[in-house]
């Protein structure tokens, strides 16, 4: 793809945002809000977190001034694009009762629309989050039954990826082979170049519609030296990740750890607060909520994000299956790193580090996986 690579400057980035807006996309990109990088509608380069970087560690997140002008100089924000294409609350249908009749309408025109209107152009999607999107495509679209609302939002979305140039202290996409350089699943991909030359972005084209949009933007051909520099930046970023995860044989390690004493250890720290599942770009579990008006004549069902850390997640008549925090943490990490492989052919973790950063108890998935690997297993119970 190197021969197709183009260069844009900050004006070009503005031009790209304009070109996407002109095509009717709501452009969603990183912004600074409440002391964090948050995805929100953006209208121009000035809305982006220019000059902002971040500092991330277990249970620690802080924005910092970079001392340069980089617009993508931070690591994974508090949320991926998951809430855009897979909103936390969504109307599934609304129904009306007239006498004994009940009619269900799944596309009720006066139903509330969650968030800004589609189609979306997702600007600044990290490689880890691109892989998470591909995972959601498999989970929600690639099997027997389809999440039709996700399908619509996703198919309409235009993706502008970005290479992580300054990974955070909780990042480990290099271990998961999901980054930091976007390797597919985008329409356009940017690498921000901040050397002695002018502030510019190398643009790779992933799809014909990406090329089509880029044709409306002032670009220059990218010299070979810039292509080489972009590659070097990604290699260097990969070497600076704050965490690593040894995935070798990990599925078997976790399956064999079902009775590990380590679960009691982690359960003594875990608050079962659900933060990790809320920030994880691949967590897809949902519940439904039924709402009826006072007369009972109008009822609606909503789909809402849920978490395997909630006790009633596994409730069946007579009591929950997973009453203890140890069982719920085991379910979460075993699903992510092991069962996911059997279910979907990939790990359920893309190494974004969010669950580590946003865990109030500083629980670290990479440390827990390593500990399970080295914790002796109790002798098999025999049955």
């Amino acid at each position: 793809m190197a021969d197709e690579a183009r260069l844009i400057d900050l004006d070009g980035l503005q031009g790209l945002i304009d070109a996407l807006s002109a095509r009717g996309y709501t452009v969603i990109g990183p912004t600074v809000r409440d002391g964090a990088i948050v995805n929100a509608p953006v209208h121009g380069v000035d809305d982006l977190p220019r000059g902002w970087g971040d500092e991330q560690d277990a249970a620690h997140y802080r924005l910092r001034r970079r001392g340069d002008d980089a617009v993508f100089g931070f690591a994974a924000g508090a949320q991926s694009v998951k809430p855009v294409v897979f909103p936390a609350h969504e109307l599934i249908w609304r129904g009306r009762r007239t006498g004994t009749e009940f009619t269900v309408n799944d596309r009720d025109a006066d139903g509330p629309v969650a968030g800004p209107p589609p189609p979306y152009a997702l600007l600044g999607v990290r490689s880890c989050d691109l892989h998470a999107l591909a995972i959601h495509d498999t989970v929600l679209l690639g099997r027997g039954y389809t999440d039709t609302r996700y399908a619509e939002r996703r198919a309409g979305s235009f993706v502008v990826a970005v290479t992580c140039t300054d990974p955070g202290g909780t990042c480990f996409c290099a271990s998961m082979r999901t980054g930091p350089h976007p390797d597919g699943g985008f329409d356009l991909a940017l690498t921000e170049l901040m050397d002695d030359g002018p502030h510019r972005f190398l643009v790779e084209v992933g799809t014909p519609r990406g090329a089509d949009v880029l044709a409306d933007v002032a670009t220059a051909p990218a010299p070979e030296s810039d292509v080489v520099e972009a590659e070097a930046i990604a290699v260097e970023a990969a070497s600076r990740m704050g965490r690593t995860l040894d995935t070798d044989g990990l599925k078997d390690v976790l399956y064999a750890s079902a009775d590990s004493p380590r679960w009691d250890d982690v359960a003594s720290r875990c608050l079962a607060c659900t933060n990790c599942t809320l920030v994880c770009p691949t967590c897809f579990c949902t519940s439904v909520e039924d709402v009826a008006d006072l007369t009972g004549d109008v009822a609606e069902r909503r789909r809402v994000w849920d978490s395997c850390f909630n006790e009633d997640f596994s409730y069946i008549h007579g009591g929950s299956i997973r009453t203890e925090t140890r069982s719920r943490y085991r379910q979460w990490i075993t699903h992510k790193l092991a069962a996911w492989v059997d279910q979907f052919g990939t790990s359920g973790c893309v190494g974004c580090g969010r669950c580590i950063t946003w865990c109030p108890a500083a629980i670290d998935i990479t440390a827990e996986a390593a500990a399970l690997r080295w914790t002796p297993q109790p002798a098999a119970a025999g049955s």
Partner: protein, 293 residues
């Protein structure tokens, strides 16, 4: 990395032409009859408000919706070999099941499905077939029994071992007698608690297994009931030599979607709603031995 998404249509947003129907949207069914089976268990007969009767396989379930109250998974209890209303046998245990069994005749309920795997009783042709039911677990087994009875000559010895709480809780009493008398099914019933005029057996259904007189090496066993009961029964059956893959259990987990999307029903790598509910013990044995998995 391959994407399943068609990226080639700039700005396409509206309805996608070839999108399948939304599996989360129920179809309206009308209650044509509600029959009380026992003190707390009722059978609902449902007819589609529009469209044809539902085709299903024995062992499958639907998501039954009491509009405005909630939606729960309930196995189909009807006879799959005869077209007729959709039947569900429901025990009144909570908010949604109560709303379902108290809904008046003529009321409209929502139905999604049928979902999940089947008992596939035909795998028992040329063999002995053992049904083991605990409590309401007889209802999900009934379609498989009806399927077998329709082709009774293809099967060897057929045994139904059924455990109920009390004599008053015995489901489908008339049918039990007819299966035994008219269709060559050995029916053994036991109750946990039988003070009244009960002259039958008292005790656990597991205790009936050794006496059932089937040929373990040539037997298909279909088991449905509380999980603990199923674990003991599966162990008793395999101890006697029934191969693990020919012991099938119908698993119960929390289910919010029934179609593999909500994540609630997971049992390690299994989505019980689509990989099950009927699963061979060979797959379940390693999973059921860990507490709270």
């Amino acid at each position: 990395m391959t994407s399943l998404i068609d990226n080639q249509h700039p700005g396409r947003t509206g309805a996608i032409d070839d999108l399948p129907a939304d599996p989360m949207v129920p179809r309206p069914y009308r209650i044509s009859r509600t029959r009380q089976d026992t003190r707390d268990t009722f059978t609902l007969e449902l007819e589609p408000v529009d469209g044809p009767l539902l085709r299903y396989r024995a062992g499958q379930f639907t998501m039954l919706d009491a509009f405005g109250v909630g939606e729960v998974p309930i196995s189909i209890s009807g006879d799959p070999t005869r077209p007729g209303p959709l039947e569900h046998t429901i025990r009144d245990v909570g908010v949604v099941t109560h709303a379902l069994i108290t809904a008046p005749t003529g009321a409209v309920l929502g139905v999604r499905g049928p979902f999940g795997t089947s008992w596939d009783v035909t795998a028992g042709e040329g063999k002995d077939v053992v049904f083991v039911a605990g409590g309401i677990g007889l209802a999900p087994l009934r379609p498989a029994l009806m399927e077998l009875i329709a082709r009774r000559d293809r099967y060897n010895r057929v045994v139904l071992l059924y455990g109920a709480r009390t004599p008053e809780d015995i489901l489908f009493g008339d049918e039990l007698r007819s299966w035994a008398k008219d269709h060559g099914v050995v029916v053994e019933v036991t109750v946990d608690n039988g003070q009244h005029a009960w002259r039958g057996r008292v005790g656990l259904v597991t205790q009936l297994v050794p006496r059932a007189g089937f040929d373990p090496r040539n037997t298909l066993a279909l088991v449905c009931g509380p999980e603990t009961m199923m674990r003991y029964v599966a162990a008793a059956l395999t101890d006697r030599g029934v191969p693990e893959h020919r012991v099938r259990l119908s698993m119960e987990r929390n289910m919010k979607c029934g179609v593999g999307l909500c994540g609630h029903c997971q049992l390690r790598e299994l989505f019980v709603c689509v990989d099950g509910p009927v699963l061979p013990y060979s797959r379940l044995a390693p999973l059921l031995s860990t507490r709270e998995l």
